[in-house]
Symmetry: C2
Subunit: 379 residues, 2 copies
């Protein structure tokens, strides 16, 4: 049996193929998922330009977790319906609505892919932080075939059931929401605290929604581009345009903290020197600045006493763990995370065949028009 | 009644005076302490060159916490014996061996000094972090007369009793030990973890002792100066000379972590760009780098992804709270913190009269010969 899907062959080379073999249960822990919706994110766009996550899969040695080689199906942020399960699967049953936490790390290499099994577990995995596994990669980014296809599969430990009252298109956003949920938890955010979000792109908006769902007393989103800033305001943020205040921007921002003296937490979702510095300076005493952005190898001028004098913390967040998916699902199912607000982040839906032209290329060419484009095999 | 003491009149101007009035109980919470030993630290030496903490006390408005003006007695790290107490004092009684947590913050201004009482509590104090009070200062650095004299006094809330089995000269080191105890707690250090200490001056050595007392599995002290490094080794550290390895120093350091891949915690007790960068790079995944040094206003090249890729944390520690004094006293009384090791940090004892020549000037001119010089009115 074959299916339709988008395969990554290399930079600028994503091909629509109708002859991809449908995945089958080959491991008793396998869950076969019929894909409903799969988002395209900045990482996918970056891989479209230059393979980073896919880099190992382009070599003879293959991916560090699975040994797989190109071509592989793209897509790592998705929802779907369980189609079939292996004999040992207890966590889900056919018909369930599910999302997949797509990381591949040391234990997946050894227990699922049975690849390089003699390689010792890395320190992060040993300490229980699989999200910073030294060989971390994702289904749909090189570990194995992803979800820009009709079907995909993974070990049941990566598959999480979602209540059917949540629409499947909204479910597809659980993955990007988990990225920022992880950051909000890592920063030690507590209900009732205020927070600053720097940058109002897809990650910034997702951070806003998670902060609201977790009971932030106030969220200020700083973003110079008015279209993006307005999106944050529409979702309930206090908008701030740093360009309006020039040199005094940080001082003005601090006044917007609930006590008028800075924020408990700041999330840098832009990743430029100005936002890094602001994320520290705009904090109140004992505040935490958390980087959520991916930076090029470029340094920032850091003043150690800026952190020390008020015992502030600077931390960086990377990816997620299964617990973060569970957290987001709980917020959605309990209604704390507003389904309609999440839905409003979806600015386009396209079929598999137009995935490259109306998905990847549309996002690259009309960046500011979109927050999230979903691809569906049913369109 | 008058007493002998060293008064600060300004930069380069510390005067020995035999006609200082002996402090008396004027507040029902007062504790009068007969000083046993008082240390001289880097902050005192810095004030000797340029008034920073004393700056406000040089003006007509006076200190921000107490309104006091120069001249004032120096000395903020000391031990002594309770001489007399006010009517409300319940925490100590005459004859007790005590140390004094000498901070002055918002509540001291309002409740003890009754100065500028209408000024609102600062955010740090409101949040319970008096150590980062916006007007933070210390007894012996401008808040009030300190302990380079025969007697001093403060509110009972700042006075802590120490078991008489601990020698009074060792008690005088509880203050500098509390500075690093605070840092070790702030960094989230847990028993059994390994740690790196950068710099083997008085603060670095104190950090080493607290880490040992709190059950570190291994402490590596990195210090290029061999005399200082040997002091750390003598106290039980693994010594590391970064100059021996040049460009590979950080890589070699990481190998000394208990799993060969960096340290759980790193304490920068030097405060130069190289030690900041090393404090981050030498960490294992999810490690915490804590600045304990005081920096000039000079930036470091910080790579945000260095923190993000393994979810490391960069934090700065400032001063202490009463809880940190309690922590150090408990470690000393329980024997976890080795009294003999603490005693070995004392490299000189001088009388009050020679305090400037054999204390301040000796430390400035023969920095590497000394760790801690104590001044005693009884010598
Ligand atoms: Zn993504
Ligand atoms: Zn791993
Ligand atoms: Zn001191
Ligand atoms: Zn205060």
């Amino acid at each position: 049996m074959s299916m339709r899907g988008l395969q990554y062959h290399g930079a600028q080379d994503i091909r629509y193929n109708t002859e991809i073999p449908v995945p089958e249960v080959t491991n008793p822990n396998d869950v076969i998922v019929k894909v409903a919706y799969c988002g395209i994110c900045g990482t996918d766009l970056h891989e479209f330009e230059v393979p980073i996550f896919f880099a190992n899969a382009t070599t003879k040695e293959g991916d560090r977790i699975s040994g797989k080689q190109l071509p592989l199906v793209l897509g790592h942020e998705f929802s779907g319906i369980v189609q079939a399960v292996g004999a040992n699967v207890t966590k889900v049953t056919p018909g369930d609505h599910v999302v997949v936490e797509t990381t591949g790390h040391c234990s997946d290499r050894r227990e699922y892919f049975k690849y390089n099994t003699e390689e010792p577990e890395c320190q992060s995995c040993e300490l229980g932080y699989e999200n910073t596994c030294k060989d971390l990669n994702f289904l749909g980014l090189g570990v194995d075939n992803g979800a820009l296809a009709e079907y995909t599969k993974y070990h049941q430990d990566h598959v999480l059931k979602v209540d059917k009252k949540i629409p499947l298109d909204v479910d597809a956003l659980i993955e990007p929401l988990s990225v920022v949920y992880h950051a909000v938890e890592l920063a030690g955010f507590k209900e009732g605290e205020d927070a600053l979000v720097l940058g109002s792109g897809p990650i910034g908006l997702a951070t806003l929604l998670i902060l609201q769902a977790k009971g932030a007393s106030k969220v200020v989103v700083s973003e110079p581009a008015s279209v993006r800033r307005e999106q944050a305001v529409k979702l309930g943020a206090v908008g701030f345009n740093p360009f309006e205040f020039g040199e005094n921007a940080t001082e003005e921002l601090r006044k917007l903290g609930s006590r008028g003296q800075g924020f408990a937490k700041a999330f840098d979702c832009s990743g430029i020197p100005a936002t890094y510095t602001t994320s520290i300076h705009a904090l109140r005493a004992h505040g935490v600045a958390c980087n959520v952005a991916i930076w090029p190898h470029k340094s920032v001028a850091h003043y150690v006493m800026d952190v020390t004098l008020e015992e502030k913390t600077s931390v960086g967040s990377l990816g997620y763990q299964t617990k973060d998916f569970k957290g987001v699902i709980e917020l959605l199912e309990s209604g704390k995370l507003d389904v309609e607000k999440v839905k409003s982040l979806i600015t386009g839906k396209v079929g598999l065949k137009e995935g490259v032209t109306k998905g990847f290329k549309e996002l690259i060419e009309h960046k500011d028009k979109h927050i999230k484009i979903l691809v569906s095999p049913d369109l």
